[in-house]
Symmetry: C2
Subunit: 214 residues, 2 copies
DNA sequence: TAGATTGTTAATCGATTAACAATC
DNA sequence: TAGATTGTTAATCGATTAACAATC
């Protein structure tokens, strides 16, 4: 009975966390209701785009009134599947990986985020057994069995570029379906796996183009 | 005489560093020439897109042959304005900022990147005066004067969300025209300033959507 | 009721892909 | 010359924005 599965553009999915974050922040200021116009002004987005984005998933507002902030927060959390804790793995416990892990723990503790890095792996025996915040670093030989037994579907790759493709391959086999890749290399994965590039160097380099068109 | 200024889509500008990185890596394997077809296969992109992207800036290939790897590397570096060292400022010397700074130094030292973080600022007097790798942390009171005197146009924002808008405002006044924002908040800046969001939490949250559509 | 604002359809805009003449 | 591959134009596809009836 479910009917059509409309296929949601990635650009829409990526804006949802932005909406969510702003809604959470205005809730602290006791704002109960918000119009797409107001939200758009705060985020620098077209209000029609916001309404259309939300309408992909249902009708969450009230005509003439706007959106109930609390209800919209809960709705977006359900859409994204982050209405409960989501276990995440981190591969690579170097400086960047460790910083991301500690940052994540702060966000989780303050209630801003339910994506939790609960497993960290590294191939370096010197790192294995050490602890980052409240998570122990495990040897990467445990990777496949640990991910499967903990039912982890999302992983952050923070290993050197030379190791990243091999890690992606192993993660794919272990059932991971979404990866955030900080290594400066393009990863090849099956169509069923989503990879998002999060490469510091590339971001900086592309910004140089805009910085100097005087 | 220069003629039309074609206005380049941001999606094109953001792919250039990806092309560049791959070209640099194949050069190490003594590949002298590459066809858009081959490059596309390696990066998971349509070869027509690669040719069109490059054609925005000129004709860099040879019909029937392909692109000379060395020449294309130099050409893309010039297009992006990274054919010489580019000074970058980092605001916020917390764990994430420090990790990014050290990571940047490794990349610069190994010759993979000419975007150099040469100035780091923090408002915490406990951090001021300390050193991250080979860069000293300066008090944020120096921000405007230091950026102007060093002619810095690009900045990385790695401060708490609550401080990020104020930092962006100050950077704008100080003449910064491109910012990479790691704080989990949408920044409002004049149209003349480019802000790129690089928010770990949002990226992870949007990935959750894809991880569970079983 | 009058004013405001949604949800949705239609119009616009822009980016990607296909096709192919030019040419190495 | 024959085969390969670019640069570019045209066709397609998809995303954003405008407009407005529905309705709170």
């Amino acid at each position: 009975m479910e009917g059509k599965a409309p296929r949601i553009p990635d650009s829409v999915v990526r804006r949802l966390p932005v909406y969510l974050r702003h809604l959470q922040s205005i809730l602290e200021n006791d704002v109960d209701t918000i119009a797409s116009q107001t939200l758009g002004e705060a985020l620098g987005l077209n209000p029609a785009q916001i309404r259309k984005d939300l309408a992909y998933f249902g009708a969450f507002g009230q005509k003439g009134v706007g959106y109930d902030v609390r209800f919209l927060i809960l709705s977006i959390e359900r859409i994204l599947r982050i209405h409960r804790d989501v276990p995440v793995a981190l591969i690579g416990a170097g400086r960047l990986g460790a910083a991301l892990c500690l940052y994540n723990q702060i966000q989780v503790r303050s209630g801003q985020n339910r994506m939790r890095i609960i497993s960290v792996f590294d191939r370096d025996p010197a790192k294995t057994g050490s602890v980052i915040g409240n998570v122990a670093v495990e040897p990467d030989t445990h990777l496949e069995s640990a991910l499967r037994s903990r039912n982890i579907r999302i992983a952050v790759i923070a290993v050197p570029a030379s190791d990243a493709q091999e890690v992606a391959d192993r993660l794919t086999v272990a059932g991971v379906t979404a990866m955030l890749n900080f290594a400066p290399v393009a990863l090849r994965v099956p169509d069923s796996v989503h990879v998002r590039a999060a490469d510091f160097t590339s971001e900086l380099q592309s910004l140089a183009y805009y910085a100097f068109d005087e």
